[in-house]
Structures are given as C-alpha cells and as structure tokens.
C-alpha cells in the first residue's frame, strides 16, 4: 500500500442497549468526543465528517451533531445505506483521505431503536371499498403473508434454509447452536446489550419468530453509537509515538451493491455481493482468509451467520456447516467469529453496527479487548450487509 495507506487512530463505541435519557445526537456526541480523545486530536483537525443514521435519514444528524460538539464548517456527508450505513460513513471518510482532500476524517454511526419492533413491516393501506391495484406488482393490498414474507426474520430464515437446500447439513438445532456461541461470547463484552449465556434448550424453546429463528437468534433492536478517526499515512507519521503505536491500518475498505442474479427479485441475494466485497478486500489487502485472526460478521439472524462463513471464504464453498461443526468460529477455535457477541447479543443499532464491528477488531489488534482479547491478533475482518442491498468489508492490520 505504501504512502496512500489510511490509518485508524481513534475509535469508540457507547454501550449498546437502552439509553432512555439520551437522544440520537447525545449518543453520537459521546462516541465522537471519545474517539477524538482516543486519537489525541481536536475537532479542529478533522477535515471531513461522515455520519450514518437510518431512522432519521432526512434530519441532517451530522449537522445536528456539529451543533453539540463543534461547528467548524467542514463538509458533512449524511449517509443512509440500510444496515451498511455505518460502514458507508466510514467509506466516505476513507475515500476523502485517500483522495487527498483532507488528512483527517471522522465517521460516526448512531441509532436509537430500543422498542422499535419488527423492521421491514409496512403499515396498512388506506381502506377502500373497491379493489384497486397499486405499485409495480399491481397488488390489491399488502403482499405480506399473502405472497410469502418480506419481514427480516423470515427473509433471513429463508437465506439460511436456501443454503441448507443447496448443500445439506442444516437443521434448526445447528442454527440454534450458532446463536448459543454468540450469546456465550457476549458474556465477556461489557458493551453488549445482552450478556446472558443461553443453553441450547433455552434458545430452541424460546418464542419462535420465523422458523428456524427463535427470539434469541434474532439481532436485538437497541440504542448505540460508534465513531472512528482516520488519517493519512503522512499525518500518522507526524503523530506522537504513543498514537502511532496504537494505530491500526485499514488494509482494505470495500463497499458493494448486489449485482443482478437470477432469482434475486424473489429472495434477496445476500451472498454474491458479500463474496464480491470479500474478494475485492482480500485483493486490496494482499492477504487471504487464512491470515485472519478474528472476524466480526453480520449475524443479524443466526441463519445469516452460517452463509457468511462461506461468502467470506472462511471455509470451502458449501462447507459452512462443517466449518461450524469443527468449532472454528468459537473464541478458542481456529477462526474466531463474533467474539463481541455479534448482533444477536451485542445488539444492532443499525447505523452504529457498521462502525462498531470495526471498533471490535481495532480493540483486539491494539491488545485492548480486555477479558475477551484474542491473544496476538494481528489481522481482522469486519463485515456488514444491509438489505437492498449494500455490503461493507474492512480488513484491518496491526503493523506498528
């Protein structure tokens, strides 16, 4: 990479969970100010601000944040890209630094979702006493339930079941065991929304949301924010040695959308764009999946985690079930996955997720992950995907 490398010198996330006494801007301000403090720089040094928020996408949260932490007149990019919103905000900051427009960028992702309920559900149409077709399918009323489901737990359940149909070996119990792993990991993460270890029986006998996903197998709606400071190679070299020592290199930063594939209009294809993003990221970083010491992937549902083992090429094509059965993705396994607890227990404040997963990797590469530290971690990958679709993959390395 050489001189066009981009480095993370500051990183922070709030505790995920319920923050009834804080609004969206409060949470963003907490994460931003702590990330600046972590980097040892001032807001006056920041040349570009990327801010991700999904639920108030038209509200200019970036400028609202500036009003609370400092109005310096720099360009603000308010972004919204489904569950990949946070990664998109970071991409903006990284691109601006790479393009040489500024030496220092800040990215923030923030969401308040506690109690938001199911996402992807559309409200009822106004009642009419005659059948009136509307929309691109000319449907007479909501298609939900009438023509399958478009609600997230059901869509991602089908993503996992489709993998099972293609390659075999999946079962309700297998998916539940993936969830068991992530909940077990969460007990070591004080910033996770839920830190409760569940037995396999508890997971399988909990409320069924969309078979085979029970409630603990679904990501939790919650509040949270995460923020990150990125700098150019030149800027990094001018920083004090204690900052340089903790700097983490962004070896790959990739964002993809879903290319057309047969059947993607029926069941969203979360696989191709993830595989494309991973391929580009490995190429950019000049490393392979075998070099990764830990992975944070987008386990919005237990059924999704399985397919991404394969999409990120942590296993051979079709080998995700064997990969899980080998114990590899447990924190003491060969390829630890979601040692933060994943979205199922850490929580999923949508726009914060795509920065928080990178924050988790940063903490391990710095050796600052506390009780859940993966010893000697030097390379990590963070992945998010938002339906629609958008996929972000970042590969980070500890070089110094």
């Amino acid at each position: 990479m050489g001189s066009d490398a981009v480095w993370i010198i500051g990183s922070n996330m709030t505790k995920f969970g319920k923050h009834p006494d804080k609004d969206v801007v409060d949470l963003a301000a907490d994460a931003s100010r702590n990330a600046l403090k972590d980097a040892g720089i001032s807001l006056a040094d920041v040349g570009v601000l990327g801010v991700g928020n999904l639920m108030n996408a038209g509200a200019g949260i970036g400028q609202q944040l500036q009003k609370q932490i400092g109005q310096t007149g720099i360009p603000v990019f308010n972004v919204s890209n489904a569950c990949a919103t946070g990664a998109t905000a970071l991409r903006v900051a990284v691109m601006a630094v790479k393009a040489g427009e500024t030496d220092v960028g800040m990215a923030v992702g923030v969401e308040k979702l506690a109690g938001a309920g199911l996402l992807g559900q559309r409200g009822p149409k106004p009642e009419s006493d005659t059948w009136e077709p509307s929309g691109r399918h000319g449907a007479l009323s909501s298609t939900e339930g009438r023509i399958g489901t478009s609600i997230m737990p059901g869509v991602f359940a089908q993503v996992g079941m489709e993998y099972g149909h293609k390659y075999g070996g999946t079962s309700f119990e297998l998916f539940a065991r993936i969830s068991e792993k992530n909940h077990a990991h969460s007990t070591l993460n004080p910033l996770a929304a839920y830190q409760k270890r569940f037995t396999l029986d508890e997971i399988m006998n909990d409320v069924m949301i969309a078979y085979p996903n029970t409630r603990p197998m679904c990501s939790g709606n919650c509040d949270g924010a995460a923020a990150m400071i990125v700098v150019s190679d030149e800027k990094m070299k001018s920083m004090p040695s204690e900052v340089q020592k903790r700097a983490v290199k962004i070896s790959a930063s990739v964002l993809t959308s879903d290319p057309w594939v047969d059947g993607c209009q029926i069941l969203p294809d979360v696989n191709t764009l993830t595989r494309n993003a991973a391929t580009q990221a490995y190429e950019q970083a000049g490393i392979g999946p075998e070099d990764l010491d830990l992975v944070e992937l987008h386990d919005c549902f237990a059924t999704a985690e399985l397919v991404h083992y394969d999409n990120l090429m942590l296993c051979e094509e079709g080998g995700a079930v064997d990969f899980f059965e080998s114990g590899a993705p447990w924190r003491d396994g060969a390829k630890p996955v979601n040692v933060s607890g994943g979205l199922q227990s850490k929580g999923h404040p949508i726009a914060a997720t795509g920065i928080a997963n990178i924050h988790e990797i940063v903490m391990h590469l710095r050796g600052e992950a506390g009780d859940r530290q993966i010893e000697g971690a030097k390379v990590g990958l963070a992945h998010v995907i938002g339906l629609g679709s958008a996929c972000g993959v970042h590969i980070l390395e500890k070089v110094a």
Partner: protein
C-alpha cells in the same frame, strides 16, 4: 399489465387478480416479463433490464409446478404461515404455501408443489379478487 387491460379484465370476468402477474382463467398461471435480449425474468414492471440494461420485454408463462428451495414459518402474527421460494422450472417464485400445516414437520425442502388460486372476497361492485398460493402436489 396496463391499467386499461386491467379494467378490461375486471369488467369481462367480474374477477381481478391479486397481482398483475397472476393470469386468471380456466387454468390460471403466473406470467413474467422476460427480457428479449438476455432472458432475465421479472414479475414487476421494469424500466429496463437489471441484467443487461435493454428495455424490450415479452410476457411468458411460468410453469405451475415446482420444488420448494427455501421456506420459513412466520409466527409473528395471530396465524402462522409458510413463506416459501419455489423453483418453477428454472424461475424462482415467492409465495405462501397453502393447504399444508404450518409446522416444520409438514413442510420440507425439496417438496413438490403446484399453483392454486382462492378468493379474497368481493368488493362493493361485486368484483371478486383472486389470490394465488402453492400447495403440495400429489406426485
């Protein structure tokens, strides 16, 4: 289907399909807009082909039998239902499975299903809405 064609179908038969791509008649079937240039199929209206960017489409009938390649039993409302993806001779179709118990014991990946239609009721002008689903095939 254009609005004109739709109202034509409505007045002629006294029936209206739940979605444009359900063609009613003695043997109902689903119909896709197929790209004349690359063969990609769409159930909704497209401005251009998402695969090859061309904009000429022809209407093609979809096989009425197929194989379940994925499903979920959605249990978030008062009545559980089975959402499924069916491979109809190479074209994927999204549907709700009908006439089958919504339990993991009753629904299997790879099971054979066939198209069926049912009434959603009449509106104030006496027009009956007809929806489709798929149900287990005897074979």
């Amino acid at each position: 289907m254009s609005e004109n064609q739709k109202s034509e179908q409505k007045s002629k038969t006294g029936e209206i399909p739940f979605v444009d791509y359900l063609v009613l008649g003695e043997d109902p079937y689903l119909q896709a807009n197929e790209c004349e240039s690359c063969g990609a199929r769409y159930f909704d209206r497209r401005n251009a082909c998402a695969s090859c960017f061309e904009d000429n489409f022809r209407q093609v009938p979809i096989a009425t039998e197929g194989e379940v390649t994925s499903f979920s039993i959605v249990q978030m409302g008062p009545i559980p239902y089975v959402s499924a993806v069916v491979d109809c001779d190479g074209t994927s179709v999204k549907c709700t499975l009908m006439n089958v118990e919504a339990t993991p014991e009753s629904v299997k990946l790879g099971m054979n299903v066939k198209l069926m239609t049912y009434s959603m009721g009449e509106d104030s002008e006496g027009v009956e809405a007809i929806a489709f689903g798929f149900e287990p095939a005897s074979s």
